[in-house]
């Protein structure tokens, strides 16, 4: 009797394991699309609408920066269908043959994208990507605590101002952090000269004792809650924070800042290319793009959708900076691997420099 029940038990366990294993490996069946996007970067109701309209389930996960997304994908740890990398990551991934060529017949809404946002250097032949949003890096500060005199010149130096020691936040990813230091020194943020990188690293090390914490999206809590007063961040998120705390203000630094284009791409090894293209097309729909833009506050590349935004947003120079501001901004290009390696080493040097 007991023998029998043990046998039954073991069989059950085995069955469960097998069933569960099948469920695990079958996670990518026809109806589920794996979308991997930045945190705080979508209106969730849009996803629900997409699911309702097409019957395709969306498995939506997020990452904090391009590098995190990239290493997840190349380690083979994960199979995603749609990703939203920034421009320099797109060129890197095109080079490494990770992205699928899109079939634009399935993306009729591509015609709604403004010409200014098509055929940009990272995807010159318009084969791999459809722009999602764009923006610049801005410096956010709290007017209650930061003296007007210190922000008058709209300089990057505010991030190095001793007066605000312990109240300054910094990007917790090397590319964005080094770009700020490079701009401060007057170098190109796409420099491949090792000595310039070393100099930028020295700047970051010199800044370290002023930094309260290195953060990504935790910046929201800290700035809104007035735990910190100054932080560089992406324009759209800056807008979102300014809505929550009206003492916050922001500027694009005069030394220049990074301008980024985040675009939707499909991975080469996707099993759902058609559904992925359907998703991209859906996101470019005017009504959807407007709703999404209102939620995420970033600038959108869809012309019609832009026209439908309210006047205040359209004229907001933070979200849609005028040409002369954009002129001093720089778009990231993919760095050669020696420079990437140097960047990674210098970043660790910063993090292992103990005051």
């Amino acid at each position: 009797m007991i023998k029998k029940s043990i046998a039954v038990f073991l069989t059950l366990v085995l069955l469960c394991t097998l069933l569960a294993a099948c469920a695990g490996s079958g996670a990518g069946n026809a109806a589920t699309l794996n979308v991997y996007n930045w945190g705080e970067y979508i209106d969730q109701t849009v996803l629900e609408d997409f699911e309702a309209e097409t019957g395709i389930q969306v498995n939506y996960t997020t990452y904090a920066n391009n590098e995190e997304m990239y290493s997840k994908i190349v380690s083979g740890a994960a199979s995603y269908d749609v990703i939203v990398p920034s421009e320099y990551m797109i060129s890197k991934m095109i080079e490494e043959d990770l992205l699928a060529e899109l079939d634009f017949a399935n993306i009729p809404n591509y015609s709604k994208i403004g010409d200014d946002y098509k055929g940009l250097p990272y995807d010159p032949d318009e084969k791999y990507s459809v722009p999602y949003t764009w923006g610049t890096v801005v410096i956010v500060y709290n007017t209650k605590y930061v003296d007007e005199a210190d922000v008058e010149d709209e300089s990057i130096d505010l991030l190095w101002n001793e007066k605000y020691a312990g109240k300054i936040l910094m990007f917790d990813n090397p590319r964005d952090a080094f770009a700020l230091a490079m701009s401060k020194l007057g170098y190109s943020m796409n420099s491949t000269t090792p000595s310039e990188w070393e100099a930028a690293a020295d700047e970051l090390i010199a800044q370290k004792h002023l930094v309260q914490a290195y953060v990504m999206d935790q910046v929201f809590d800290k700035l809104i809650g007035e735990e910190a007063y100054i932080a560089p961040y992406y324009a759209g998120d800056a807008m979102a924070m300014m809505e929550e705390n009206e003492d916050l203000a922001a500027y694009v630094p005069v030394e220049g800042a990074n301008q980024f284009f985040d675009s939707m791409c499909v991975l080469k090894n996707t099993r759902h290319k058609k559904e992925a293209e359907q998703f991209i097309n859906f996101m470019c729909d005017t009504e959807i793009a407007v709703r999404n833009a209102e939620e995420v506050c970033y600038a959108i590349p869809q012309v019609e959708a832009y026209e439908e935004l309210d006047e205040e947003t359209k004229n907001d120079t933070m979200v849609y900076p005028p040409a002369e501001v954009l002129e001093r901004c720089e778009v990231f290009v993919n760095l050669p691997s020696e420079t990437l390696e140097l960047q990674s080493d210098l970043w660790k040097k910063l993090k292992t420099h103990y005051d």
Partner: protein, 262 residues
């Protein structure tokens, strides 16, 4: 002395429970801040039950914990019985290997398995980390704890009862099932419970060995802490904590009666 100890105990309790109190208290916040209490509300609990990602990863966590606990209990109990029969160098070699995952820091266990999985998966196109790798990882760090909790019971077992059963004509397999298993049952059960809780609570090993589509609860919680803090996490933690507290109380009230029997 007595007074000092009382005061001291109170202080340590405050230290241990202050964060718990903060988590529970702010789970009822009507605002969005984890530091400024604006008023009482149950909104985070409502939102929690609408969050598919959290619910799904909770489900995945339980699945992984149950399956890995059962499998590791079977393998671990068998191993303990085998090891108990070994002597000398071979025995201590087995015990040493068993101890590796216990003594090694989680992160080392985690990356060592990650290397293996990446190494193997890179030879099979189209396969990825996910349920299977996670399950293997969890079973691996669970087995030693099962072995360690069954072994002492085997040592303390009275071999004579088993021999007596055989002498009285009981077939060996039946004697094993009827005599040995019941005697080591407490060890098996506590090993299984331990495996279950270790698996449910594991963050580090899952962090390095889970893919995109199969995330356990701790992984989801970690990815949520990287975003603007969401008080749903407090609501979730409060609920799970309440469940455990209730279970503990129930077990604890039952226990004295059981003890008298033994």
């Amino acid at each position: 002395m007595k007074k000092f100890l009382t005061v001291y105990t109170v202080l340590i309790s405050v230290f241990l429970y202050a964060p718990i109190f903060v988590v529970v208290f702010f789970s009822f916040n009507s605002g969005t801040s984890r530091a400024v209490f604006e008023g009482f509300s149950m909104q985070w609990y409502q939102e929690l039950f609408q969050d598919e990602l959290i619910l799904k990863s909770l489900y995945y966590s339980v699945v992984i914990a149950v399956v890995s606990a059962v499998v590791s209990t079977v393998i671990g109990t068998m191993a303990a019985i085998g090891i108990n029969k070994l002597r000398g160098f071979v025995k201590s070699a087995y015990l040493s290997v068993n101890n590796i995952p216990v003594v090694n820091p989680d992160i080392v266990t985690a990356i060592s398995m990650m290397i293996l999985f990446v190494f193997v998966l890179s030879h099979f196109n189209g396969m990825e980390m996910g349920f299977t790798t996670l399950l293997i990882a969890h079973i691996t760090f669970n087995i030693p704890y099962v072995v360690l909790s069954v072994l002492p019971k085997l040592k303390g077992m009275d071999q004579n009862i088993y021999d007596a059963a055989l002498d009285l004509g009981c077939p060996p397999v039946k004697a094993f099932v009827k005599v040995v298993i019941p005697q080591i049952m407490p060890g098996i059960i506590s090993g299984m419970i331990m495996a279950f809780t270790l698996s449910l609570d594991d963050f580090v090993i899952s962090y390095f060995n889970s893919g995109a589509t199969f995330q356990t609860l701790p992984i989801t919680i970690y990815s949520m802490t990287k975003k603007p803090y969401n008080l749903k996490l407090n609501a979730l933690s409060t609920l799970l904590f309440a469940v455990v507290l209730a279970l503990m109380l129930a077990v604890n009230i039952k226990k004295p009666a059981k003890k008298k029997k033994a």
